[in-house]
């Protein structure tokens, strides 16, 4: 099948993303591990936003 000229390479990495458990109660400040999880999510969002598929 002719699919035309090559345009770009896309790297698909189906990384498992650990979803954070957010604890919003005052008595339950967000744990360090949760904040790490959020950073992971933000990082993924940034990368998706930069190259939405």
């Amino acid at each position: 099948m002719d699919i035309g000229a090559q345009q770009r390479v896309i790297i698909v990495e189906l990384e498992p993303v650990e979803l954070p458990v957010l604890l919003f109660d005052e008595g339950n400040p967000m744990a360090e591990s949760d904040r790490v999880g959020l950073d992971v999510i933000h990082d993924v969002e940034d990368r998706v936003a930069g190259d939405p598929m």
């Binding site: 099948m1 002719d2 699919i3 090559q6 770009r8 896309i10 698909v12």
Partner: protein, 244 residues
């Protein structure tokens, strides 16, 4: 005060009673001990110097490795930007068509024994599908069309009898072309398959596995084909099986 040990005690008793404690070769043995103690000190000094050399070399190694990592990351990031390389945590979706024969479902070059196929290339096992042009105009990889229209307009779809058409999830290295993709790996996520007068439309993984294992599954579990499997009908059937 008594001496700390038997050797020192000899000297103490010599001081106390004069040289009445004669031991054959005593002074020679004492001198031998002193010489060896000096040699041990010198050997330790050499070891310390070598340990310092090793520590310095390790420091230089670490600095060189850090510089190489920085240079590598910089050049790779620049290459990604220069070539517009994309990244996705989700599979790229495309469409494929297979010929359904009694022995199985066939792509242009090979039989798909299961719904997932990983690309191979004679021109090298690394970085498949190749994007440096080494494979010629029609490069290696699992091909998929960007749209059903493109797929159904291709010569592959001219004789729409006993065919299977489906959406595939492309993973790994995926090369985007104008109207399609070449992928490292493709997995079928839904399928419309016609064989022997029967039609089966499914997005059930187990069903899809069975179809690729044997097209008889289409006959046994499909419904009568009815009207011809044309462009419009494929569009309806695939469209009805939206994926997430």
């Amino acid at each position: 005060m008594e001496a700390a040990g038997p050797i020192e005690a000899v000297e103490t008793y010599r001081q106390r009673y004069g040289h009445t404690l004669e031991i054959a070769g005593w002074d020679g043995m004492l001198a031998g001990i002193r010489r060896r103690e000096v040699k041990v000190v010198n050997a330790r000094r050499l070891i310390d110097e070598q340990l310092r050399v090793i520590e310095e070399l390790n420091g230089e190694l670490r600095r060189l490795q850090q510089a190489m990592v920085f240079a590598a990351e910089t050049v790779v990031a620049a290459a990604r930007q220069r070539h517009g390389e994309g990244w996705s945590p989700q599979p790229v979706m495309g469409y494929r068509l297979w010929s359904v024969r009694p022995s199985g479902l066939f792509g242009v070059r090979t039989r798909w024994e299961s719904p997932t196929l990983v690309a191979e290339c004679e021109k090298g096992e690394i970085e498949v599908p190749h994007s440096d042009g080494r494979c010629g105009r029609l490069g290696c990889g699992i091909y998929a069309a960007k749209s059903l229209d493109t797929l159904l307009a291709s010569p592959l779809a001219e004789d729409m009898v006993d065919v299977a058409i489906g959406a595939v999830a492309l993973e790994g290295k995926v090369i985007e072309h104008e109207t399609g993709y070449r992928a490292q790996s493709a997995s079928v996520v839904n399928l419309v398959a016609e064989y022997g007068g029967a039609l089966l439309a499914t997005r059930d993984k187990h069903d899809i596995n069975l179809v690729f294992a044997s097209p008889e599954h289409i006959k046994n579990h499909g419904s009568p084909s009815g009207r011809p499997l044309d462009h419009k009908r494929v569009d309806e059937l695939i469209g009805a099986m939206s994926w997430t």
